[in-house]
Every structure is written in C-alpha cells, then in structure tokens.
C-alpha cells in the first residue's frame, strides 16, 4: 500500500501547509489584531530576526517540507495523467526526489545558517 501512504502524506501535508502558512500569514498581516509588538513584521529586519529564533526556524522548515511535498506530489499527479510511459514516470519520480532534496537543503540552509550565526 505504498501509494496509499504517499497519498495520505499528501493529505497530511495539505493540512500542515494550511496550519503553518496560516501562522506565517497571521504574523505577517494581522499585526494589529495579534498585537505582536513588532512595528513592521514584513520588513527585512523582522524577517531575519524571526529566522534567528529556533521556534520560527522549526515552523519555516516544517512549512517548507509540507509545501514542497504537496506541490511535487500534485505536479507528479498531473504529469502521470499526461503520459502512460512507465519509463517517463520513473524519470519524473527521480527528478522530483533529487530536485526536492536539493530545494529543501538550499531553502532550509538560510534559516539554519542565520540561527547558528546568532
């Protein structure tokens, strides 16, 4: 039931993306309602400031994992509908796995590096 597990992860990643993206959006744009005390949460300084706090780093990395998985799995589903060639599908699978890992390392490096340079 490998593909069913992948599908369940897809659903889980949708929930995860909604939750963590929701937190991110709320902090960025509902400053007045949440009264976070930050003057401009969308400014470069605030963004870098959050990226040096371990709690925020965890949230951003989880958001990255969920959004990346959800996007790549969804895209794979669309491609699967356009081709019936098993060879092409295998190539797409590997491309997405390798590409996904590279994007993950690249995108999570920034907050991790910032946090460790604190």
């Amino acid at each position: 039931m490998f593909r069913t597990r992948l599908r369940l992860l897809f659903l889980l990643s949708a929930v995860g993306t909604a939750v963590f993206l929701g937190i991110h959006m709320a902090v960025q744009h509902l400053n007045n309602v949440l009264a976070t005390g930050e003057l401009d949460p969308t400014s470069w300084a605030s963004t870098i400031g959050r990226a040096t706090q371990s709690g925020w780093v965890v949230i951003y990395i989880l958001l990255l994992v969920f959004a990346l998985y959800h996007a790549l799995y969804g895209l794979r589903g669309i491609i699967l509908e356009l081709t019936t060639s098993e060879k092409a599908l295998r190539a797409v699978n590997w491309l997405f796995i390798v590409g996904g890992v590279i994007v993950f390392i690249w995108a999570s490096y920034v907050p991790l590096a910032l946090m460790s340079s604190r």
């Binding site: 039931m1 490998f2 593909r3 069913t4 599908r7 699967l80 509908e81 019936t84």
Partner: protein, 273 residues
C-alpha cells in the same frame, strides 16, 4: 406506425475501417411514436434504410449492457432511452468515447473487460475445496448484503468509463467500472481477497487517480454510483495502509455440516446411453 406518429432525423456517426479513412455523419429519417427508443430507431434504420449500420444490442431491456452509445453527446443505453426525452427532432448518435471503434456504433469493450478481470471480480476464499466443489451457501445477513448490493447492479455497459474524464486522459486508468467492482467484492462478507485486490487498486493508475468528478455516477443507467464505491474503496485502502481493516473471518458455510440432511439420491438413468 400509430396515429400519433411523427418523424425524427437520426444523425448517426459512421465508420467502416475497411472503407472509410475518416468518421462521418449520415442522416436518416425515422418514424416515431410515443415510447419509441433510440434502439428502436436504429433497428428501423437497419431493417429499412441501411442494413450495413453496425451497433450492438441483445436484451432490449437495460439488462445486458450491450447498447451503450452517445446520444446527443451524452452516454445512454439506447434501449433504455426514449426519443421523446430529448424534445428534439434531431437525434445525434455516436459510439461511446474512451473505447476504440470497431465499426459505426460498435466499440471494443475488451480493454474495459481486461481491467475488470484484473481486479479479480469473484469471491476469493481460503477454503479451496469448498470453492471448487461447493456443498452449501455461505451465510450472509441482510445488512451484509446491503453493504455491496447497489454496486452489484453493474451491467458492464461501459457508460461510466465513457463519461469519466480521467479515463479520457489516462488510458491505463483502471476506471470507474473496475474500481467500483473492486469495492463491491472487497465489501462482500464472504470474501477473503480484499488484501490482494486493494494492492491492485493501489497502482499508479488506480483508485487514487480518480479525481471524483462524479461523471460516472451521473451517467450510470443502473444507479450503481461507482464514484461513491471508489470513495469507499479509498477509505478501505487508507485504513488498510495504516494497519487496520477487517479482522473477522469471512462468512462460513450455512447451515453447518452437522445440521444438514442427507442428500437426496439421484435415481439411476432409465435410458441407456
């Protein structure tokens, strides 16, 4: 024809692979009266206007599933659809989409039957002796029958597959017919083969490829609701993949061997072979 007879134009898609290089439409004028079906019209054409017209039919009463076709661009059983329903003097008849055309309105349903066969559409048991030589029936309560009864009305007409947008774009997709029947057998309390069937539905072109457009259920002439069956199948697969699923044994034979009366002896042949 009766007194209220009127005339309708049938625009029929024609294609003879031995003669035609392209599909083309041909028009016929068909007399109709109240209750005339699309199939009656086609039979009239074949008997009176053009005997080369090819289409499939058998029972003429919505049972055999032979006469599925596209009527005014929507899939119907020709024998189960009256001309009056369309409130139009022009009826367009084409073969079912998502299946190769053999000739005119007759399509090749073998790919659908192959996919149907692939999901093992039969009761799978561990008691092979009983399966090979059944002694009695398996016990099943009305509630247990209800769990799959609706889905067992499938007549394999191919209408759901022709309406399915995923079948149109993915030739390897198992399709609503096979997936619906996959659930039908998995939900049967006499069956012990859910595990192997769910593995088949777990393929790249299996149940998770269904986008729940619901076109299959809307078009199904027997009210089978394959889209609902696929949703239930997905739930079964999700539960199974998390280690859940039916734990109880499949139904036993009934009544148990000790309560059965001895079989009536068949009298010997009175005529020599």
């Amino acid at each position: 024809m009766a007194e209220h007879a009127s005339k309708v134009t049938f625009r029929v898609q024609r294609y003879d692979p031995e003669k035609d290089s392209q599909l083309h439409m041909q028009e016929f004028t068909v007399p109709t009266k109240r209750g005339t079906t699309i199939l009656d019209g086609l039979i009239y054409i074949k008997e009176n206007l053009d005997s080369t017209l090819a289409f499939r039919t058998s029972c003429r009463m919505g049972i055999c599933g032979s006469c599925g076709m596209l009527v005014n661009n929507y899939p119907h059983l020709a024998c189960h659809t009256q001309i009056e329903e369309f409130h139009s003097n022009v009826i367009t008849v084409k073969p079912l989409p998502n299946a190769p055309i053999i000739k005119d309105l007759a399509v090749d349903l073998m790919p659908m039957f192959d996919r149907h066969k692939s999901i093992k559409p039969f009761i799978i048991r561990n008691d092979e002796d009983e399966m090979a030589k059944p002694t009695r029936e398996y016990e099943q309560l009305p509630d247990e029958v209800e769990a799959f009864e609706q889905f067992s009305y499938c007549i394999k007409c191919g209408i759901c597959v022709s309406a399915c947008p995923t079948s149109a774009s993915d030739a390897k997709f198992l399709g609503p017919q096979a997936l619906g029947q996959c659930y039908r057998y998995c939900a049967d309390s006499r069956d012990a083969g859910a595990k192997e069937r769910l593995e088949i539905a777990d393929s790249n072109h299996g149940a998770w490829h269904c986008h729940l457009a619901g076109a299959c259920s809307e078009a199904c002439p027997k009210g089978v609701d394959p889209a609902f069956a696929i949703q239930l199948l997905k739930r079964k697969m999700a539960v199974q993949s998390l280690g859940g699923g039916r734990k109880e044994k499949p139904a036993e034979i009934y009544p148990p061997p000790t309560e059965t009366k001895p079989k009536i002896q068949v009298p010997p042949f009175t005529v020599k072979k």
